[in-house]
Symmetry: C2
Amino acid sequence: MTIKSATIYDVAKYAKTSTATVSRVLSNSGYSVSEELKQRVLEAAKKLKYTPNLVGRQLKTKEITDIAVIIPNISNPFYPSIVLGVEDVAREKGYNVLLCDSFRNPKLESEYLRSMLQKQVKGVIISSISQNNKTLIKLVESGLNIVAFDQDVTFPCNKITFDYKKGGFLAVEHLIKLGHRKIAFVGAPLNRPSRKSLYAGYLKALKKYGISLNEEFVLLNELEKEIHNEIYEYKNGIELAKRLMQLKEKPTAIFAINDLTAIGVIQGLKTYGVKVPQDISVVGFDNIFISEMVEPPLTTIEQPKYEMGRLAANLLIESLSNKKNKNLEISLKPTLIIRKSTHEL
Amino acid sequence: MTIKSATIYDVAKYAKTSTATVSRVLSNSGYSVSEELKQRVLEAAKKLKYTPNLVGRQLKTKEITDIAVIIPNISNPFYPSIVLGVEDVAREKGYNVLLCDSFRNPKLESEYLRSMLQKQVKGVIISSISQNNKTLIKLVESGLNIVAFDQDVTFPCNKITFDYKKGGFLAVEHLIKLGHRKIAFVGAPLNRPSRKSLYAGYLKALKKYGISLNEEFVLLNELEKEIHNEIYEYKNGIELAKRLMQLKEKPTAIFAINDLTAIGVIQGLKTYGVKVPQDISVVGFDNIFISEMVEPPLTTIEQPKYEMGRLAANLLIESLSNKKNKNLEISLKPTLIIRKSTHEL
DNA sequence: GTGAAAGCGCTAACAC
DNA sequence: GTGTTAGCGCTTTCAC
């Protein structure tokens, strides 16, 4: 690195042979080289501390085995679970993954996208928080292979979708069946597809059970953008609990947009001496591992995160070689996990 | 990607000019090109959906702005905090970071190391879980720039170290001052420098306060390797609690090697009806954000994670241009965070 | 201000 | 079995 490193040419000179031969043995191409020469080359390479330069190789062969995954926030344990799945599959199939954290910043997301393309990655797996998908659309049009997950996207492509609406419905229905009718929906601005669907599910459940919407019970903090903080969702939840407590008429149950928010809400509620689930029931969303660690353990909606990661990676990698499976959509279903944060009214 | 994309050569042809000119305008080199030609080139590039090929560029210029960070387990929130710091600095200074998760597998770590080197990264920030640092030493010898953090390393290089021993001491001293004398040390095999130091701190505190070591109170699960699981440390903690409860003589306090383990221990204890901190006090290590979410909130030792990430990135980037600051070691100090999981005996 | 051409490190025809 | 050489996409002298 510092000292300019030996090239294949140096090795060839040292071993008194040609670069072709060196390349043949060093890239173990299976090409037949006499044992003696082979040894000489190997020795020379060792002697000169030769390290192959992938850049040269890639320029020549176009054999790039990188894929990128772009996520909005690695600090929410939801995403590491996804990444785990992606990496496992990638490794099995001989791909490397470049992980990009967009920090919920559409501009950064676009930059990453472009930069990955320039790096010649074979494809990208993305949870896009861009509202219009402009960059994404442009890049896909010019041939970029992608699979969208987590956040749905406004154009046809490979997708791993999750039935957020049903998830929201399940969560709220669970509360309703417990006897609750004053149910708050709590989270962040509905500026992502997943959140909109969650809200739609909330509405649907209300409607089905003949409960009219109380707008006061829909609390969406605007803070989001201001916080460059790993646990902003948690902080947001605490804040939201505060606002809930200021309502004249208080809900008896709360559906939070994700687990981290739900945990924050519970924490915030504690400050006011409100007990969960005795006084108020809370259900979260995602089933991150933390949700079973907190007190009370969180009732929530499971997303098969690791599996989603695996599916996404498989879908992407398959679509690379197999042009016909284009614009596939794989949809996953939510399950309700009942723990201790919800209670009969 | 799919359709072979336009090269600078195509653009030149389309704009009826030379590749040199195209390069000049497209890489905004500041090189003077007539306005008219410039426009033609820009148009051609747009028309042909030209995307620069970084591989070609890099091969020529050697201007690579990638750095790698290698960590053992992205699912432990400790590491995302570090990565956050690294990425912030990297972005400020125009570097990209390639994140590698070694999954606590020395072999994978070596592979990543080699692969990053071949990718020509400018340097790597690493928490190495290799016992002998063999690969690392070899690569550093042949010129790789690194900064080691989290886990100390057996040879001189840039380091961000943390005073684990003092951290362990502080944790145990806190327990002793609360009146505890039967204090367990609980975690995973002492096969990493950080853990050894933690244990040394435990021993030191015991000694200072005239408490003799009870070997039965040192519980190190061997499970680690078997589990390819995001929350293995938590599971490990639960398991460890079980083993503790089987002891004839039980400790009154527990020092766990990290927060996730501590949280697992508390969880495991609950199963036996043991209350923390009334029956047993527990202190963790790291101060990950989860530790304030659990019940009881965890008493723990703070590591300035985000700052460590920033420092590591700064140290690395500086050492790239400034050859004289070689083998710098920056040491950070622990602080005790007292919450609710510890209690007077 | 513009273009021809060399060359970064590597691989793969192609010749011998 | 081995070597020569062209060329991947790009930048950058060096002429003009």
